[in-house]
């Protein structure tokens, strides 16, 4: 099954080439050139992972990460950054980022993290289904 990815970065040239390479790896890629646009797309789509630039105009990646996690706490978010400080890295992890990669990133390493994100999402779905079944079994009298 192909992964559904949202790429959020204010560098349009980066979005174009990155999405082309990811699509060649059988991923379904949507792009957003701002955090605001990304947040709108996350609301509408069911993504396996979001790749988010840490520094963007209007709203930075940390702020966007907070809002993404508020919308969907289980969403896998991988941060990409030109120059992360240790403080930013720790803050991102505390907010629930799956990982933080430095630009220029290795696409193979990124792809592995996306696979891991999808596997994690499947586990969360399975756990939720199991909890729901157990709840039904324990509350119904049959």
């Amino acid at each position: 099954m192909s992964e559904k990815i949202l790429l959020i970065d204010d560098e349009q040239d980066f979005l174009t080439v990155m999405s082309e390479r990811m699509e060649a790896r059988n991923m379904q890629v949507s792009t957003a050139a701002s955090a605001k646009e990304g947040l709108e797309k996350v609301t509408a789509g069911n993504f396996d992972a979001v790749i988010l630039d840490l520094m963007m105009p209007e709203m930075d990646g940390i702020e966007a990460l907070k809002l993404l996690k508020e919308k969907n706490p289980d969403l896998a978010v991988i941060l990409l950054t030109g120059h992360a400080t240790i403080k930013q890295g720790i803050e991102a992890m505390k907010l629930g980022a799956l990982d933080l990669l430095e630009k220029p990133a290795d696409l193979n390493a990124l792809t592995e993290k996306i696979h891991a994100a999808q596997a994690q999402k499947m586990l969360i779905i399975e756990k939720k289904n199991e909890e729901m079944i157990n709840k039904i079994i324990s509350t119904k009298g049959w």
């Binding site: 560098e11 980066f14 080439v17 082309e20 390479r21 105009p57 209007e58 120059h83 430095e102 630009k103």
Partner: protein
């Protein structure tokens, strides 16, 4: 310049000067990383296409051309950034030198371009009627203009255009920083730390033209 003057200028650089140098360097590093990321992905794309071609898949020549155009575009972008960085780095070479104010304001406008863009602001530099050339400490003046821009960013909020205009009158050389929406008479209390020693070392004065939404930096000459 005597040794007392030199001491005043060294003192004026202080913590604010180091912060200024650090902020400019960090901003340049970030932009260069973005450029490298685009070059890296385009190189990766060529590898992907080569890999596909080795397995008998036809390559669209236009796809190769597009990647090459990206390399050229990003190299020109990086070259411009590094030229600015080099000029900026060399501005500490001499404590006193002849400068063209339009040229210097343009350099700071370029260096502050990304921090401005992060706030959806644009910086424009208007050419003067005739060249405004005088002798000063280039680094201190760059630092002072940068601090004025930091104030302008915070006062203006998101969106808008800040215009830097060098002006020469009979008595002084001035730099107008216009387009500051939230400018008020008490601007001095909201200026970033470190601007006063810079004003003193340069023998300059900073006043607010509140109706004109502009800071006026009067420089001695």
């Amino acid at each position: 310049m005597n040794s007392d003057d030199k001491d005043i200028q060294y003192d004026a650089i202080g913590e604010a000067g180091l912060r200024f140098f650090g902020k400019v360097s960090a901003s340049i590093a970030h932009e260069m990383k973005n450029i490298l990321a685009i070059i890296n992905e385009n190189a990766g794309l060529l590898e992907d296409l080569t890999f596909a071609a080795q397995r008998g898949k036809a390559i669209d020549p236009e796809r190769l051309n597009k990647a090459c155009r990206q390399f050229t575009k990003q190299i020109h972008r990086a070259d411009g950034i590094l030229k600015n960085m080099s000029r900026f780095a060399h501005s500490v070479d001499n404590f006193s030198g002849q400068i063209d104010l339009h040229d210097l304001a343009g350099l700071i406008g370029n260096l502050a371009g990304r921090p401005a863009a992060m706030r959806k602001l644009v910086i424009e530099v208007e050419p003067p009627r005739s060249p405004v050339i005088f002798t000063t400490n280039p680094f201190l003046l760059e630092n002072l203009i940068w601090l004025c821009l930091e104030f302008a960013f915070a006062a203006t909020g998101a969106g808008g255009t800040l215009t830097l205009s060098p002006v020469q009158t009979d008595s002084a050389v001035c730099l107008h920083i216009a387009g500051i929406d939230g400018l008020a008479g008490d601007f001095a209390a909201r200026m970033p730390v470190g601007y006063e020693p810079l004003l003193m070392a340069l023998g300059a004065e900073l006043v607010a033209d509140v109706p004109g939404k502009a800071l006026v930096l009067r420089l001695s000459c």
